[in-house]
């Protein structure tokens, strides 16, 4: 369904050209962020992250699975995302949309490339490994679902407990310590309109912008990137945005649990 843009593109352009945003934020400011984690009993890890009015829940579950044939000693990491119909009048019921698939894959890429999870430690026995499932449940959409989902996923991982394994089977309800992680991955997404780019686009801004760029970072590296939308970005844009992302990543990591 076509959504009526609440702020017309030219109004947004004019605002941005003078360095202002519809909600009086700075060009590199996040909206208020909250993170809750570890509050569910059934998933092995869970968290809810909110950025402005966007709210995303991430749940983690372990299962025993067969490994991929070309990587027989490695555990399985699988990320999925649901843009729930209750999250937005723009979301419909039905099979996963391109947006939800892109969202899942971008969040997955950040976590996988960064190697914060040692998948080799998930090996159990011949043809048996642990699979870690990350499920992203988008509950409320007001823009920048990528950063919100990645934050929820990272917080969920930080709250995840390793299940107790006996005889190659998971004993549900019993745990053996926390999931070992080598660092924290966070993402920063920028919107671009004309020559201006702005961090953490709200839904209004997303409706009017040309394109977006997401950068996933660990303390030392850039580990994933994704450009979405029709417009173009220049090389200089990317380098500048990476600097800003690295700065902002410190703030984001501080909000995550230990």
């Amino acid at each position: 369904m076509e959504s009526i843009n609440e702020i017309k593109r030219d109004t947004l352009s004019a605002l941005l050209a003078s360095g202002k945003r519809p909600d009086n934020r700075g060009m590199h400011d996040y909206r208020p962020i909250t993170v809750q984690s570890g509050m569910m009993q059934n998933p092995d890890g869970a968290a809810i992250a909110t950025i402005g009015k966007s709210q995303v829940m991430a749940g983690i579950k372990f299962d025993v699975a067969t490994p991929f044939p070309d990587r027989p000693t490695e555990g399985v990491l699988s990320t999925s995302a649901d843009l729930l119909p209750l999250a937005s009048h723009l979301f419909e019921t039905g099979p996963p949309s391109d947006e939800s698939i892109e969202l899942a894959r971008v969040v997955d890429r950040g976590i996988r490339s960064s190697n914060i999870i040692d998948l080799n430690s998930f090996f159990l026995a011949e043809a048996k490994v642990l699979a870690l499932y990350i499920d992203i449940f988008v509950l409320d959409h007001d823009g920048n679902l990528i950063d919100c989902s990645a934050l929820a996923a990272m917080a969920a991982l930080l709250s995840t407990r390793m299940p107790k394994i006996e005889g190659g089977k998971i004993i549900r309800g019993e745990f053996s310590g926390k999931l070992p992680l080598k660092g924290k991955v966070v993402t920063s997404t920028f919107g671009k309109l004309g020559e201006r780019y702005f961090l953490d686009p709200s839904l209004d801004e997303e409706a009017g912008m040309d394109c977006r760029l997401t950068l996933a970072t660990t303390e030392k590296h850039l580990c994933a990137g994704q450009k979405g939308g029709w417009g173009t970005v220049s090389e200089r844009d990317i380098m500048t945005m990476l600097d800003i992302a690295n700065e902002k990543a410190k703030e984001l990591r501080a909000l995550l649990p230990e």
């Binding site: 829940m57 209750l86 009048h89 499920d135 509950l139």
Partner: protein
């Protein structure tokens, strides 16, 4: 029903159930209304360990057009469980057959009470997501959806709710938990319109005598009064503590 007989726990001992409840005692229920920003109405219910979120959109233009009715709003309902909601394995995304059946019976319960004639040619959508399940999710779902509809201002003949009753160790009990549901002798979720006492949703499996059935319905009816009071409190809180931005907070 359908648990493995080998690890069946003792469901009833000295009048106390596995979690210490009496036969006529409900699990703790907490309801918060208006927790989402985009949805027209929303509600979050914690019922024992169940955690259920409901969101409502409407009345809005009916899409696809050919579904619309010239006389009334079409009520659509989707009940769905999160892949991480169960205590056992990781589930699939999207509604399975059970979820589709529940979507239908829940929709039919609401079609009775929503005054759909007020909004011909439109649709009213009810979305229910089970974030964590522990037995009796469809009852918690109906209860949450009713609050979400009231939050959205959709006119209804009553605030309905639901509760499951069942039989364990020969005793009729109210509000089955997951183990009681798996290992008990009968499970009967019922939704009521407390104002009239009418039954809007009724499902049952297992074996019951006529007396047990009557006792079960009576227990459920009593429970529905208590649940409705909690629903009303949740709505009142929206106005007693107004917030501009809404958050789902799970402790």
């Amino acid at each position: 029903m359908g648990g493995n007989a080998a690890n069946k726990p003792e469901l009833l001992k000295n009048g106390k159930r596995v979690d210490g409840r009496r036969v006529d005692e409900l699990r703790p229920i907490k309801i918060v209304a208006r927790v989402l920003n985009d949805a027209d109405g929303s509600a979050y219910v914690e019922w024992g360990k169940n955690k259920i979120l409901a969101g409502v959109y409407g009345p809005s233009e009916c899409i696809p057009r050919h579904d619309q009715s010239l006389y009334r709003a079409i009520v659509k309902c989707r009940y769905n469980m999160a892949p991480f909601s169960g205590a056992e394995e990781h589930g699939r995304s999207g509604p399975n057959r059970r979820s589709k059946e529940l979507s239908k019976v829940i929709r039919e319960a609401f079609e009775n009470v929503i005054i759909a004639e007020s909004f011909p040619k439109t649709q009213i959508e009810v979305f229910i997501e089970v974030l964590q399940s522990d037995g009796g999710t469809r009852c918690a779902a109906v209860t949450a959806a009713a609050v979400a509809l009231a939050d959205a201002g959709i006119p209804m003949k009553d605030m309905i709710c639901a509760c499951a009753v069942g039989k364990i160790e020969g005793e009729v009990v109210v509000d089955l938990g997951k183990e009681e549901d798996n290992f008990g002798e009968s499970d009967m979720p019922i939704a009521f319109s407390p104002r009239t006492g009418d039954v809007l949703l009724f499902q049952m499996d297992g074996l019951l005598t006529k007396e047990e059935l009557a006792r079960g319905i009576e227990l459920a009816r009593g429970a529905s009064e208590k649940i409705r009071a909690i629903q009303f409190e949740a709505i009142k809180k929206v106005y007693e503590e107004p917030r501009e931005e809404r958050f789902l907070i799970i402790k």
